[in-house]
Amino acid sequence: MFEKQVSLLLAAFFATVASFTLQAALLQAAEPPADEIVIGTHQSLSGPLAPWGRPIANGMRMRVEQANAAGGIHGRALRLVVEDSGYDPSRAALATRKMVEVDRVFAILGTQGTPTSAVSLPIALEAGVPFLFPISGATMFFEPFDRLKYSFVVPTGAAVGAGLDYLLAETEAMTVCALYQDDAYGQGVLDGAKAALTSHGMKLAAAEPYARGETRFGAPIAKLRRAECELIVLGTIIRETVAAMAEAGRADWSPIFLVSPGGYTAEVAALGGDTVEGLYGVGQLPIPDPDAAARPVAEWLSDYEMRFGEAGGLPAIAGYNTIDLFVRAAEAAGPEPTVDRLIAALDAIRGYETIFGSTPVSFSPTCRLGSTEVFVARIEGGRWRNDSDFLPTPPPEGCPSAR
């Protein structure tokens, strides 16, 4: 009779969950409480990008908690719904539907990853929910124009192009090559490098793709060496950046390496040690050096570590900044926030800067890419240090050019 009891238990479980689901479905007819502003995000809390997704979510939570401790936004508490996408587009789509239809979020913010944010975008737009500041270097999050779309991440290709321009002038390298991950991210890096070279009347001497998850780079590095590359643009992430440079070092070969924003992370410097010394990277937000940070940043870092029990870095700051910008706009939107008022407030933001030294953000009714500047940094003595001033990238249609 044990089996029968288990069957009953299981049926009861299904019934409970089904009834809750039904309840949730009924609840969606109700408006969210008037004393709250509900916003949503999805992050890779699990899966291959979890090392980024969790700190982004934590940074967002930290700013939300600060806003609520300061009395909320015109007296309304800010509530952040965090869903796990696992870096899987289908789960991201489901999470977005839940946030839009069950949680009835006011806006979706800072979703991480290109494929995962790509599936969320049309769902949000269809429901009339603002889709703000996804952590992705794709152009679809500000082009073509839609009143609900805002982004402040310079597209990967444009960022790489600006970095390459700078290095071509600094180093006088003539033979440029690329090593890139065989997916949408790597493709963006490759396209950016090609475009930048075309404007100099140059061409990529060699371009080598590798499969995601590849661990051995002897073959592609040998091919690039055969092409006598002087400067190699890396469309790599953490492990691949270090492994590719280690492979070149093994053959006693030391071309100049420039990694795209995906590889401009503290982890690369920590994991690579001496191997990655001299690596250039492109970024929009300086990686904080905990030993030499300015006072407000040092305080922020210690607050973050107190709250979450781990050191804060670039992803946490990026997440924090998305909410910071939203809070600023929501406060300007007045005590009765509507989507129209939020949009008007966002469009009025000019030259927004943070304590972290990130590139300034400005929006307008025609310009929804808030930042068009990047900088080049370099690993020296095991730490990333800024190597250039802010560099302009070509502004998209409707945006003013930087400087």
Binding site: A50, A211, T215, G218, P220, R239, R250, E267
Partner: protein, 290 residues
């Protein structure tokens, strides 16, 4: 670098990778032959072994000390997966076995990711013995690749010897050849299955340690085992030497394709070849039967 030296470099690096696939394939095939389970947790057992080796190395005992921790940990984890699969899925059922081992893989990964200090981050295995490069004339050779070749050769020789000389080895081989006949001569099938899972786990730990200097240690590294499955299947699941040959063929083929063919073709080629090889051999064995 002159072309001959470059070719030599690719051949050695490809063999190093191939040995690791071979070690994984060896364990995978052993489990399949002894208990008819397709073990999707094999990659995670390897990851567990690599993390234990990392912990041992970081504690100051060097890679050998790390291995002393990794071998029993991975072997026991593998045994646990095997026992659980036998308990839940029953004997001789590849279908439920796939589901249970896939679930075990998720649980093992979860355990690794929640372990303090391990997490989802990537770790470098610092070892002067395994990391670094040797120069053979103009050919740079990673120490880890040499270690992989040497260790694999030793393991293969040891296994071959044990399978012919020791009582346990003979029993295991008899069980794999024909479990019913072996049982009639007093070989306990349950014990033999346990032995296969233990041995496979230990082999996975070795693979994990050998792969770490070049590919780092992280919770997602189990994906490498997919190449181990391919290695085991390429020449049929029937023979241990086949797994090693399959691993070497995949490792070297992959490297040479990547070095001398347009990029992006290597991955597709490996799996298309595996598909073709399996279909072809299926046809052959059917003809033999007829």
């Amino acid at each position: 670098m002159d072309p001959a030296a470059e070719l030599a470099q690719h051949l050695i690096a490809g063999s190093g990778a191939g040995c690791i696939y071979g070690l994984l394939g060896l364990g995978f095939g052993l489990i399949y032959r002894a208990s008819r389970v397709i073990n999707f947790a094999h990659g995670e057992v390897m990851a567990l072994g690599a993390f234990c080796a990392l912990a041992g190395t970081e504690a100051g005992f060097g890679p050998v000390g790390g291995l002393a921790l990794a071998l029993p940990a991975a072997a026991l984890a593998s045994l646990a997966v095997g026992r659980l699969t036998a308990k839940v899925a029953g004997d001789g059922a590849p279908l439920a076995g796939i589901a249970v081992t896939a679930a075990c893989a998720v649980l093992l990964r979860f355990a690794i990711e929640t372990m303090p200090g391990w997490g989802t981050e990537t770790h470098a295995l610092e070892s002067d013995f395994l990391a670094g490069t040797l120069a053979w004339g103009a050919v740079p050779i990673a120490r880890a690749d040499l270690a992989a070749l040497a260790v694999t050769a030793l393991i293969l020789a040891g296994l071959a010897l044990a399978g012919r000389v020791t009582r346990l080895g003979l029993a295991l081989r008899a069980h794999i050849d024909d479990p019913r006949a072996a049982a009639l001569t007093g070989v306990d099938p349950a014990r033999m299955r346990d032995l296969a899972w233990l041995l496979a786990g230990a082999l996975a730990a070795v693979a994990g340690l050998l792969v770490a200097p070049l590919a780092f240690v992280h919770s997602g590294m189990g994906i490498l085992a997919i190449n181990g499955f391919a290695a085991a299947a390429l020449f049929g699941l029937a023979r241990p030497v086949g797994a090693l040959a399959g691993g070497l063929l995949i490792g070297i083929g992959e490297t040479l394709l990547a070095a001398y063919m347009p990029g992006g073709t290597a991955e597709l080629a490996v799996y298309a070849t595996l598909l073709g090889a399996l279909a072809l051999r299926g046809a052959q064995s059917a003809r033999r039967l007829a």
